[in-house]
Symmetry: C2
Subunit: 556 residues, 2 copies
């Protein structure tokens, strides 16, 4: 039997486009005499559809898509994910379903049991959980068909207190009693650079526990902040990975089932994977480029504009934007003020030159003078303070938005995760943008990605890479005036945000109490700012945004 896995980039609510993608893959499968082609979780509507699932029209179109797909199965059978109405009078209105379509009909429907409801996931908001377990028979092959999380029952978690994925029952244990020959799992599992190996570990655990091959089909594509890397896999019954899809790419691959049913020759082991720090940084780089590219494609925009300060964050964002959209589609704007250093201009010009990017200069001082003059009757003799710093940042924000509006572009935000964490940024100023590229990348990783980019040539000028970080909003300002050095700040933030460690645990890792308390307070007190940030490309297991929901008025 031939099985195809289709790792495709579906668009949310684009029923026609998604159908066309799948029809094309089915045609290709027909040509190659494939028996069964597998599409990912909720493929008909794209993942995550969020509250569109509460609209009756939307569900009707999902059902229509399943019917149309069924009509295409005279030669090749299809496994595809779709929401479906729960026929029971009680419980949530929908199930998250996997359909087996063959001979132009629905042959079987299976529902998802473990509904992720943590971090960015809200599945119990929409779906009732499955409570019945039955394998699916197709051409004599007994298939344990599951959806994403359903094979994640025994997943190890970093922090036992924050565990969110341990359930009271294991769908695969029930299915295993029916002696399946293979497992097929359809998924929509997003990328996280700090958990690169987690998915593979879970797949291996399943294969080793149940002793049968596993076909894992994951969605690829970025939907605003969520980046799905795909990385679909096929595993032999001994845990050896038979095949691995290219991450961040659409691919259809075909397998002869019989070749995968037995272990490889005795003693075979997986080719060693390069999971070192360099690989993590490379994957983060690829994820960010892919995230930008797909956001612009799905929003229907070609061009971007961003501010180039002469600092590291905007330099890296520019490189990523150029890689994603092409130099001809990127405009960099230098907006120096009286506090800008001279090298901020020369370094920016050099970087833009290296990349072949159109670099513009719009000064902010004339607008600054104009605001200060008109506000003078209100400000009177009050001393200069953060107001004037914010004013500069906001004038820059207005300039970028004006250019974006006039020339039909999207502004890319250039703030990093360390800044976003401690509230080191100006609302409606440098926090502007349609998409935040680095909002989930700590400053230390910003440097690592920059060094990765420079691995064979000085793309980012060394001056930018090695100057001390500064917002340049007042004379001689340095980030380290008001923040700990980033190699202290970032690990504290990682423990607090990603690991949800306690104050005591963080101090025990070797940081001064005073510093840790200050950092945590800064994080907690800046929720009101993060509430209004642009969507942030998520590349870790805990990004700011929909995956981290904190009260604004909490008293810390």
């Amino acid at each position: 039997m031939k099985i195809a896995i289709a790792q495709l980039n579906f668009r949310i609510a684009d029923f026609e486009g998604n159908l066309n993608l799948m029809k094309k893959a089915i045609k290709e499968a027909e040509t190659n005499e494939v028996d069964l082609i597998v599409f990912s979780e909720l493929a008909v509507c794209g993942y995550p559809p969020l509250d569109l699932l509460e609209q009756r029209d939307f569900i009707d179109r999902c059902m229509e898509s399943v019917d149309i797909l069924a009509s295409c199965t005279s030669k090749v059978a299809v496994i595809v994910g779709s929401p479906v109405i729960n026929p029971n009078e009680k419980g949530k209105k929908l199930f998250n379903a996997a359909f087996l379509l063959a001979d132009q009909a629905v042959k079987a429907v299976r529902f998802k049991t473990l509904l992720p409801t943590y971090d960015i996931f809200d599945e119990y908001r929409y779906f009732e959980k499955n409570i019945e377990f039955e394998t699916v028979l197709f051409k004599g092959v007994n298939i344990a068909l599951t959806i994403c999380e359903d094979i994640w029952d025994d997943q190890p978690v970093e922090n036992t207190f924050a565990r969110t994925r341990l359930y009271t029952d294991s769908p695969m244990d029930f299915l295993a009693k029916q002696n399946p020959d293979i497992m097929i799992n359809i998924s929509a599992s997003p990328f996280a650079a700090n958990r690169l190996n987690a998915r593979e570990e879970v797949l291996k655990q399943n294969v080793l526990k149940y002793g049968i091959p596993l076909f894992y089909c994951n969605q690829v594509g970025a939907n605003t902040e969520l980046i799905f890397d795909g990385s679909s896999m096929v595993l032999r019954p001994d845990g050896i990975i038979a095949d691995r899809f290219t991450p961040f790419a659409e691919e259809v691959r075909i397998y002869v089932l019989e070749d995968l049913m037995s272990p490889l020759v005795a003693g075979a082991i997986d080719p060693e994977r390069n999971l070192n720090e360099e690989y993590r940084i490379e994957m983060m780089y690829k994820a960010l480029v892919f995230g930008i590219k797909d956001y612009f494609f799905k929003m229907g925009f070609q061009r971007t504009v961003l501010g180039l300060s002469g600092g590291m964050d905007s330099a890296l964002t520019l490189v990523l934007a150029v890689e994603a959209l092409g130099a001809e589609n990127v405009i960099a704007v230098m907006m120096p003020s009286r506090y800008s250093s001279e090298h901020s201009i020369t370094d920016s010009v050099q970087l833009a030159g290296n990349l072949g990017v159109n670099c513009r200069l719009v000064p902010v001082d004339p607008m600054m003078d104009s605001f200060l003059k008109e506000l003078n009757p209100e400000f009177g003799d009050l001393p200069e303070d953060v107001t004037e710093e914010n004013l500069q940042a906001r004038i820059r924000g207005v300039i970028l938005m004006a250019l974006a509006n006039k020339l039909n572009m999207i502004v890319l935000n250039t703030s990093n995760k360390s800044e976003a964490a401690v509230g080191y940024g100006t609302l409606y100023g440098d926090m502007n943008g349609g998409l935040s590229v680095l909002g989930d990348v700590y400053k230390t990783d910003v440097y690592s990605i920059a060094r990765y980019i420079n691995r064979s040539a000085e793309v980012i000028p060394y001056n930018i890479l090695y100057k001390a970080p500064s917002a340049e909003l007042r004379p001689g300002q340095k980030d380290s005036d008001s923040l700990p050095e980033y190699d202290v700040l970032d690990p504290i933030l990682y423990q607090y945000i990603e690991m949800k460690d306690t104050l005591a645990a963080i101090i025990n890792s070797g940081f001064e109490r005073e510093v840790v308390e200050k950092v945590i307070t800064l994080v907690n007190r800046s929720e009101y700012k993060r509430f209004q940030t642009p969507p942030i490309l998520r590349v870790s297991s805990k990004a700011f945004g929909m995956g981290r929901r904190m009260p604004i008025v909490a008293r810390y």
Copy 2:
């Protein structure tokens, strides 16, 4: 037996403050020889704590608070809500619990079964559901102790497709088998002006079904966008409401249980409630004032600044701000441009005068000229378009933020729900603010609230009330140039957003297909703007923000 219900305003994560509130109430109860005092759901930490529940430190402090409260129960017993760790190895890490504390010890703990996971609620994100049911015996009284949603099993829903609250089991049915004498329900149930009677209906249904009195203790207080009105109640076994707490106010009231155990004299009916349109508007007015007041209090700010355009929305926001914070704490800023009508100034001055508010004038044209001059090399000969309109709005946004920064104030946003719905607003311009006051109030309701305010005097000048709505961003502009009239737009929006009706159903209500399609498309296409709006005071059952989660890149 004497039972006290404490309707108090808890602050999220303010363990000490919340304890002090409760201790004070316990003292008062002691003085009045109360046997049992009841506090609301998650009272120790405030509701909703959101992802703070994932922090071990936070849960430890909750447990500490319960212990401290227990130590205060030598005379008066306490029922109080707190999260508690789930001792089981599997399942979510916490339960949402109600503790009975007496004689300086924990006498009983009961867990919440029905975990609201829809709209603004994410309880299954944190809590495991209860599966064991047992009444609580206190001084010979058998109590069916439940938490919020647990008595909402049979709640009628407006739109059967969007139903989210029907469950597979009913906690009260299990408890009823143990012959309870009374029901006590502790809640954190927010205000919604379009469902004013829903809570009372549910309470009555329970009392009529089980034939015993019900003590309903609800949280009061606003936590950023969520406004809890309190409106605690006590019901006799025949469904007659024995007592109703003042909404939007902290109160402790004491009852003699024996007086409530029997029906009133035969034929008694509830005093008629005034649930007409005027009452709805009055309640909305009160909720908004309360929401502003509590936000500033909990953020530790006294003063606000807002832009006064001469239009209806900013006029209403100003009145509400003055009512909430006092005229002396409100600064109104007029920021006319070349496109502003003369009456926009005269009307604003008159309104500010009526309210005794300090009214300032900062012109935007000098900054506008300055931006246009510096951007001229970039804009070249491109025609004027929405860019220049947005520029004006953004200059105003910068002025307000500068004043707020310099004078330690919070900017109040003045956009209404109709605008927010169709994306009629400028990001980083008139969409700025720490809190959106009218973002959940449709334009037609904005007028109704204004007429309510003017019921006995012309507080809001008639000129403002009766002029045609205009953004005044270009000569002669009217809202109706690009939008349907509000008496057509608002009902369409209500059906689409609150009722989640299908396109066909909305057209069937009597609207033109073309208009409905246009409106829905405008709503869908402006998700990217709403992603970055300030928190919006929620006064309906479906506000923009955390309760309505829509994809940005969806293709509609």
